[in-house]
């Protein structure tokens, strides 16, 4: 019974595809899965916008949207109607073709990233051998669309915002990849299904998720930081902060194109959280062996929504980082720690099973973090601000 519930979407797809002649079945199956993804994730996006506004509101001692529908849950419908009926203003001197293609490229690239995420047991759209590499490749294409948006608007401030956004995304691309490479090293494969399968084992009822290892925890934290910066999310949202650059590279966009940018940003958040879940939190595997009867896709989406909730929590808590602060942070703090993490993961692999590797790896990671933090604070790079007052 639980098996059937676990595989319910796969069975549904097979049943629906069974109505078609034999030759059309594989293609129809793929089309059906694509349609499912294209319908599900924007619906999740709509729900997330309400959660974000209400979550931020509660953090800030207010209520959030509560007039449209019960507890404001139909607010995205109102927002969607608004953005669809708004006039589409394109500046006269803007580069019309590039201006049009930028949001399209962004949304297409982000949707492609969902193709390799294993959302449940046997629920991947395409099981590529180099799945992780595919994901990062399409992630890199989103930077190009950001630049296209900023440049085609023929607006100094859009261009500045786009430059900042691209610089930020490139700088944090390296820690993102490096923290994922540790997982690849330990699993021995780039395929996301194999990575989840490797984490789906249990010792004494507890799972083998990579976050429960010293290098995995460090890697997850750095992956989370890099993911927040990649999707231009607070506290790294200088390129789109309203008080800094109006709206950065999407200043000149209105109506549906702006909605596409918004959609693209949130979908990028979903896909990068999905990848983080797959790499470090065990994907669709249950946290305890006794809970294995709950369907796998429920675990995947719960972990995804938990990551989204943490993103929203971070947004409500932290102030924005300045451009030079965030670049310094990436290159001088996160990158050296990711490189060290690689060494620690290698040590983990070669020290063999036992308690020694736990102690040694944890000690090295903690020492490195504390050492870098202490030396950075001593030199005044981070820590509480020191003021110099005029005499």
């Amino acid at each position: 019974m639980t098996e059937r519930l676990d595989q319910i979407f796969v069975l549904l797809e097979q049943w629906l595809v069974g109505f078609l002649p034999f030759a059309w079945r594989p293609a129809a199956g793929v089309v059906l899965s694509v349609v499912a993804i294209v319908c599900l994730f924007p619906a999740l996006f709509a729900l997330t916008t309400v959660f974000e506004r209400k979550g931020l509101a509660r953090i800030q001692n207010r209520i959030g949207p509560n007039r449209v529908g019960w507890l404001g849950i139909l607010q995205p419908v109102a927002d969607g109607i608004k953005s669809l009926t708004k006039e589409d203003i394109v500046p006269l001197s803007a580069d019309a073709a590039v201006h049009f293609l930028a949001p399209v490229l962004l949304v297409v690239a982000v949707f492609m990233g969902f193709a390799v995420l294993p959302m449940g047991r046997k629920m991947v759209l395409v099981d590529i051998d180099a799945g992780l590499l595919f994901f990062f490749a399409v992630g890199a294409s989103t930077e190009l669309s950001v630049f296209m948006a900023g440049w085609s608007s023929r607006n100094k401030y859009s261009l500045l915002g786009a430059m900042r956004a691209v610089a930020q995304m490139i700088s944090y691309e390296v820690p993102l990849l490096m923290s994922s490479v540790t997982v690849v090293m330990i699993t021995g494969s780039l395929s996301l299904t194999k990575i989840v399968a490797a984490q789906n084992q249990y010792t004494w009822g507890l799972p083998h998720w990579y976050i429960f290892t010293p290098w995995g925890l460090a890697g997850f934290v750095m992956y989370a930081i890099a993911a927040t910066a990649e999707t231009n999310r607070s506290p790294f949202d200088l390129p789109e902060g309203e008080s800094e650059l109006v709206a950065g590279y999407h200043t000149e966009y209105s109506g549906f194109k702006f909605a596409l940018f918004f959609l693209g940003e949130y979908l990028a958040m979903f896909s990068i959280s999905g990848l983080g879940t797959t790499l470090f939190l065990g994907g669709w595997s249950a946290p305890l062996q006794v809970l294995g009867w709950v369907p796998s896709w429920i675990w995947f989406f719960s972990k995804l929504m938990l990551s989204i909730f943490v993103f929203i929590w971070l947004r409500g808590t932290l102030p924005r980082l300045r451009q030079d602060q965030l670049m310094n942070f990436a290159w001088k703090f996160v990158l050296p720690l990711t490189l060290l993490n690689l060494l620690v993961a290698a040590a983990w692999r070669f020290l063999g099973d036992g308690w020694e590797r736990w102690v040694i790896c944890s000690a090295v990671v903690m020492l490195a973090y504390v050492g870098m933090a202490w030396s950075g604070m001593r030199r005044g790079h981070f820590g509480p601000r020191r003021y110099r007052y005029a005499e």
Partner: protein, 202 residues
């Protein structure tokens, strides 16, 4: 320790988030316009003219001295003095404003008109739901719109109104005392009183 501040911040916001569902102190927002927070006494929005008694024209305290019009920084008050006089609260005949207009789209609620008025005639109101679709006429208040009774003044600013009433009563008593002594003096002067014999004793 690096990262400690972030964790403390996250804990604080989590406390705020959870607390906003259970305690009233955390969630300080009310569902306006179904619920309203009672304004504090010192709230001020736009001026109004106070009148005593029931008839707003007869009881209006304003004597059109035009001091508030001169002192108003954005010059939003427009007064036209009347040609005849009417008795004020002590009975003395005074001018009254034939026109008293305040443009509340210009008024900046600085309260200077209230501070300089010698007759306690103009005070600050607390009403703020004044939005209208008429951009010009709807925001220009004439003296009928501005006139509100002393009872209303007591309702919105109780302590202030009681103090003002005390001042006015004192003024009235002093004026009455002056008229009584004046009446006695004139009555005494009017009657024929033989002069005192010089050096006489009694």
């Amino acid at each position: 320790m690096l990262g400690e501040g972030i964790l403390k911040g996250l804990a604080e916001t989590a406390r705020n988030f959870a607390g906003s569902f259970v305690s009233k102190e955390r969630l300080t927002t009310v569902q306006y316009p179904e619920q309203r927070i009672a304004p504090i006494e010192a709230t001020r929005d736009f001026p109004f003219l106070v009148y005593d008694g029931d008839d707003w024209q007869a009881g209006m305290r304003c004597v059109a001295c035009q001091i508030c019009e001169k002192e108003c920084p954005p010059k939003c008050i427009y007064i036209v003095k009347s040609t005849d006089k009417k008795p004020d609260y002590v009975g003395k005949p005074q001018f009254y404003p034939a026109r008293f207009d305040i443009d509340i789209s210009v008024c900046m609620s600085c309260q200077i008109c209230v501070e300089v008025c010698p007759f306690e005639a103009i005070k600050m109101d607390t009403e703020f739901e004044l939005s209208t679709t008429d951009r010009f006429g709807g925001l220009l208040f004439d003296s009928e719109r501005l006139a509100k009774s002393n009872e209303y003044y007591h309702k919105i600013h109780p302590t202030e109104a009681t103090a003002v009433d005390a001042v006015l009563a004192e003024g009235k008593a002093k004026a009455e005392a002056k008229t009584t002594t004046a009446a006695i003096a004139s009555a005494v002067k009017g009657a024929e009183i033989p002069p005192h014999p010089a050096g006489g004793g009694d």
